[in-house]
Amino acid sequence: MRVSDPVQDQISFPAVLVGVIAAACGAVLAILITREFEPDGAAGVAVAIFMLAVTVAAVSGGIWAGIIAALLSSVALPLIEHPGAGFQFEQFRDVIAAVVFLAIAAVVGLVVGNAAAERRRAGEREREARLLAFLSSKLLSGDLPDRVLDELVSVLLEPFALATCTVQVTLDGQEMSATAKREGVEPGGPTEIVPVVVASIPLGTLTTERPIKAKPFSRREHELLEAATRQAAVALDRARLDARARLAQLDAETNQLRAAMFSSVTHDLRTPLASIKAGVTSLLDTTTVHDAEQQRDLLLTILEETDRLNRLVGNILDLARIRAGALIPRRASTDVEEVAEAVVARMRPQLGTVLLDLQIADDLPEIPADPVQLDQVFTNLLENASRHSPPGGTVRIHVGRDDGAVRVRIADEGPGIPAAQREKVFEPFYRGREDPERPGSGLGLAIVRAIVTAHGGNIWIEETAAGGTAVVLDLPIEEGPA
């Protein structure tokens, strides 16, 4: 898709050459024929031959070739018809012939020249249209602004025969640029700078440079470059608006989450506080007498609610730390088995009738992990699993190896989680079906996932054979990117 210069209808060396050759051929033919038909009978024939020569010159070489041929023919005709007399328009006839030759040259040359120019222009227009169409398809593909810039400079390089092409723009206060270079070509040739403008707001400039000693940009090429730049500017604007729309959407989602968090936190903090305050004021009330059992009940409620409040505050702090990007594992060589055993040992007495069954594969490798965070992973998962277990149910913990990871599977005998919600349970403040008597904070699994992800691991939900929930997580044995 090269853009070529339009051929200009000007007198040029090839045109002169074509005219001279045509006239010469005409003269030779005329001489040969007039010799054959002595002496007067051939006059009409010579005129006809020169008319043919002029026509051929104009058709093949354009108007100027025709005119050269016509002039030469006008001189040659009298010389051939009256040899030895020297050049003179002896007869009125010769003058008419000269005028006719010129007229033929002009008419044929113009018609042919116009047609040729039209053909060339059509070809160019088609090439330009193809370039712009190609550009727009590349540019309007919904890519990000930096991608649009990259496409623009690389697409322009070839059709404009450029050595380098650079675009620099400022979008929403952010400076961006892209450059493309053709290999093995020395820049330093003609340079063209085109402004990048959208809705009369200048965004930046496009700078193109041809190889050293290359021919300058034509007006047409300049215009085409401008058209291409306009296309790119529109694409940039669209990409910018798209990016803004995405941000706005993200913002809306964040706000929604924040609102959900706020109402959830407010409710979750107030509920235990209300129970505590009710219990304490009841105990302090001098107008009623509580018996020992009632007192103990009230005090146990206060204790439970304080623990709940403490867990919730801890979880909220953890979540805030995750949000702030401050959840950085302090990795040390860690034995997952040891952490699992310690957490099981600590949790067993707190779980009432729920049983814990811990299975650990032999010869597990130590992994680079934060033991305190791993402790929290096990604690939250066991709390969660036991909360969803029926009384007397068993939570099965299995620690094994899977390829390059230590795999932990914690399965309960609860009601399970519908497949559609399995990803959702890891979102903050998501609550599944749960016993209102034993509410969670809705944060435990979100924190677990954040910790596992920070360790470069994966976590997901599976269904157990009995329809319960199994949380499975992989922790890489080799320290990988988080």
Partner: protein
Amino acid sequence: MKVLVVDDEPQIRRALRTSLEAHGYVVETVGTGDEGVVAAAGQHPELILLDLGLPDMDGTEVIKRVRAFSEVPIIVLSVREGQGDKVAALDAGADDYVTKPFGMEEVLARSRAALRRRGVGEPEAPSLSFGTLEVDLAKQLVTLDGEQLHLTPTEYSLLEALVTNPGKLLTHQWLLRRVWGQGYGTETTYLRTYIRALRKKLGDDASAPGMIVTEPGVGYRWIAETG
């Protein structure tokens, strides 16, 4: 029995004072690290409850200053988020920690254990027994259910470190230095290997421990009761 409480929050000081006095302790309370060090030196408390988040001084600094002149048991009161501070405090010489918010029964239990250790001091008894486990410190003999256990020198050394500090949370660093020597401190894998071997020989299940409790990322604690 005199207890020194160092905490900058009046509510905590009041709660601790009320509960401890109800249990027969004499309680002195101060609100800054500086006052804490002065009181520790001048009033000879038998136990210090120390908050790590003091306004004037890092709790670890208080421990170092007190340890310069006294071996009085120190129990650190720390929030869960201060894991690093907790380990640093234990390494600096604290005996134990209680996580805020704490239940009084936990503080009292830890206090009693710390005071008991102090009462024992360096064990005069050549032999300690924990149920069916007997550790003869003089002869370096260990028997379980009347049968002698064959421990390697390192295993014995580790067991001795644990049983002579009952109830105390022993950090990885402390155990490594005590058993392997001063040049050690970060080789937690050695420690884990020997703890596992020791547990196996003692018949102790790590997921339902009767003797050695793991505190992930911190250390180990000997919980078997003497007798």
